[in-house]
Homo-oligomer: 366 residues x 3
């Protein structure tokens, strides 16, 4: 697969160019990986009014019980397939709007108006949820065993002394492209020229390592810029080093950190979390949630606003580019086209290999 | 397939819950049943101006001859496939708008402008029609033998002393769901809460019987309400019993009757027809015609208005619900999902079994 | 396949009616024929700003080098599939908007920002272009050998003493129907009744001949009308004979000529070119370019305007009709429907046979 280039004008070691491998790397056709937790919604989206959302190709209705516990059920009544989100919530149950069948939070039908007792055989699939601060996570995998050990709790999101801004974008593209995009700083000067345009990004080669299935990637920059309001509000003393550190513990979350070490004496270190959450709706569409969290200047609305404006601009540019790519790929009928790989893609390729292993394990029955 | 529930809290006989059977019951994938008459249009829709409509997956053009006889032809010129409905009617023929080929009501090409005589080999398929009052029925089955014995004439629609109101809705759903919906009174308090919301409907278990392929279903209610203007105009004396009687003689029509027996001495009986006509456009879309007919207060516009308002509200609620269901089913990728059956579904299930037998006979070559 | 009609009311030789043959005649399912030149764009459409167009099912980006030479490249970066038309042109290269990869006019990657030298393995497919006056032609066939001998240069379009008007329509229909339409004058009185409605057209039977794969068709009319402004401006003396001559040298161009011989003494002959250019976008959509060229009254804007108005009306009527037909065919599920052929279709059928031979040669590996 690799194609070694022998003639290099500057006499440097030649770049080895590979191509994506269908068997070794996850791609657009790789089945969605189910046995991990995914973020289903922001906390405030789930209320006493039923809410519909498709996640991992399943149509789901969300609501809250009287005590506030969120509930997720298959959004299709077992009787005549009416979507439950068109019904109403009564007590802890959701009432189907067609024949009045009532389902509890466990998915078991608890009342059929025409019958003295609800038959046990009537039920819809429930999906385990975990609410962690502003995030509601869902388990779409093997219903027999929601694997609590795979839950990736986010301490920034509820720990005292921290604050965050967050947002959501609907993306008409496969979720893998977003992971690849985020692991790659070399696109900054081109796709985000106005926001992130530093020439040194183009040649940024992160250090990549894997622990189990978790992929880590990091790159250090000297004397780079940082959000001015944040610098001002925190008193970080320029110049400073910035390490961009990424960790991808599972298919649905991509944890970024900006680690700043400033020129104070002694040097101060500041960490900001830039959290990207990609929940596949289908193989071709993705729910893209994000949050930017900090433990400095937590009451400064100017810093909030700066973060929101940055995200609205930069993340939107990513979303639009990934949707363009999805469309290009859909148009292209050539069966044997493989994207080329260069050295800056090491992080992305490492991740796609990890996801391919996860998918293969599921296919084989983990 | 049946799953008997043993634990019933009220110690009543347990409800037997089944699931729809692909082999025994007609479903969304069952081929359309062709060897029956279907309503193609209301009479006034077919004029001297060509009208296009797709019925049972066939593109058809309708027009009237000079003497008023309605004509139905395949809407595709035999020569270069131009749709005939874009042409014009001349005398008893339809003239193709592309090259001027003329077809008679028998589908035979009668004139080709460039030829001295129209070749016999050039023809389009004609479809037999029967006009019965406000309804124009079409035979889409075996062209060799339109089966007159299967025509279901509607005497209410042209008999003196009767009047009716009628309407049409385009429904993006398979036609079977509408039959099921109509045979089931238990959805009234939920889907039609504002219009038909009587609690006793929820537990209504109709008596169902089959004669040949015709399914009958009936349920008796005591002291139920009735359209106030109708009661006022006819002098029906409350309280009265109401029998809701259904007969489904073929796939494309669902005959309902509201039979009222009042408290006069001796008791008077009044019958209203509520006729539902479902003509599949495709497996996923349906032409839904309906009529409400009466032989009392036939000149009272207030009763007309009441019926129209009822239909606009209740039938629209059904249409919208069935379209929601169609979409839910289209989204659901689980191949083995089967809707559950309870005792109130007896009428629907009986009908789906009858339709499955009809479809099987056609597949086997009746 | 042929069905001879024996009974002819006027006792003329019976018309032999055939049906289109899937094996002998090109049809909507016939693969696009690639080893010919196609018009990709009007010259002025290709500038220093990248332009996207799909041709023969391939997504292509066009731009011009600094010296004005037009370039066509596969519109998909080899690295991460971003469409190159979203990037920018710099010098003679196009720069991908995602990671800044630069490609030269030969498709070879010339610069990767993160690498000291661009690897040879990174490239996109270039497509040979020939610019001929207002037309830019593209070779989408075997990349090893763009066949210059198959280029159909159009001398009218740049020869001194000639002028032309031109236009473009996007047509949601297969390109073959447009060829058929143009070879057939018998539709004029019906589809173009207001513009071209002469009764004698209906029975026009052109003389058809084939030389190699080139199909010629011609028909002579006596005393027919002609664009009034043109007649006035040129001093053509009515009445005149008009020969409509067609030549189809390859799948993507249909050359029409109106050859007028007037009543001057001696008779003057005037030729106008009516050039139809059909470049398949896909099997179901077509780029329809056209030009009307003349060597008389070349500075008369009234003649230009007349030609433009004629084309806007008549060519639009053709486009709309062909789109209607495309839709009729898409709806029709009958697998064995074959359009009927009559004697006026000789030109069309001859052409479809020629195209079928070309397609078969390509399938067999020419």
């Amino acid at each position: 697969m690799a194609d070694t280039v022998h003639a290099s004008p500057r006499n440097e070691p030649p770049e080895k160019v590979g191509a994506k491998s269908i068997s070794e790397m996850a791609g657009r056709e790789t089945p969605l990986i189910r046995n991990y937790w995914y973020v289903a919604a922001f906390s405030e989206e789930i209320t006493r009014v039923p809410m519909r959302r498709t996640i991992l190709d399943r149509d789901i209705v969300f609501y809250r019980k009287e005590d506030g516990t969120p509930v997720a059920l298959q959004n299709r009544c077992a009787h005549r397939s009416y979507p439950l989100h068109k019904g109403t919530v009564s007590g802890d149950r959701i009432v189907c709007g067609y024949h009045g069948f009532e389902y509890g939070a466990d998915g078991q039908c608890a009342h059929v108006p025409s019958l003295p007792a609800a038959p046990r055989a009537i039920k819809v699939q429930p999906f385990p949820l975990i609410e962690d601060g502003p995030l509601v996570w869902i388990w779409m995998g093997d219903p027999a065993e929601p694997d609590q050990s795979r839950m990736v709790y986010q301490d920034w999101c509820s720990k005292p002394g921290w604050t965050h801004v967050k947002g959501y974008m609907y993306m008409k593209a496969n979720y893998l492209g977003l992971h690849e995009n985020l692991l790659d700083l070399s696109h900054f000067p081109f796709l985000h020229g106005q926001v992130l345009g530093r020439p040194e990004h183009a040649a940024a080669k992160p250090k990549v390592r894997v622990e189990g299935d978790v992929v880590f990637s990091g790159v250090m920059h000297r004397d780079v810029g940082m959000a001015p309001n944040y610098v001002k509000a925190t008193g970080i003393k320029p110049p400073f080093d910035r390490e961009s550190a990424h960790a991808i513990p599972c298919p649905g979350i991509h944890l970024g950190q900006a680690i700043l070490t400033d020129s104070s004496d002694p040097p101060q270190t500041h960490i900001r979390h830039i959290v990207h959450i990609m929940t596949p709706e289908t193989l071709k569409t993705t729910h893209y949630f994000w949050a930017i969290a900090r433990d400095k200047a937590i009451d400064d609305p100017a810093v909030d606003k700066e973060s929101l404006m940055f995200a609205d601009k930069a993340f939107m540019e990513d979303k639009v580019a990934l949707e363009e790519i999805e469309e290009v790929i859909a148009r292209d009928k050539r069966p044997d086209f493989r994207e080329k790989i260069i050295s800056t893609d090491e992080g992305a390729i490492t991740l796609l290999r990890a996801f391919a292993r996860m998918a293969a394990r599921e296919a084989g029955g983990e």
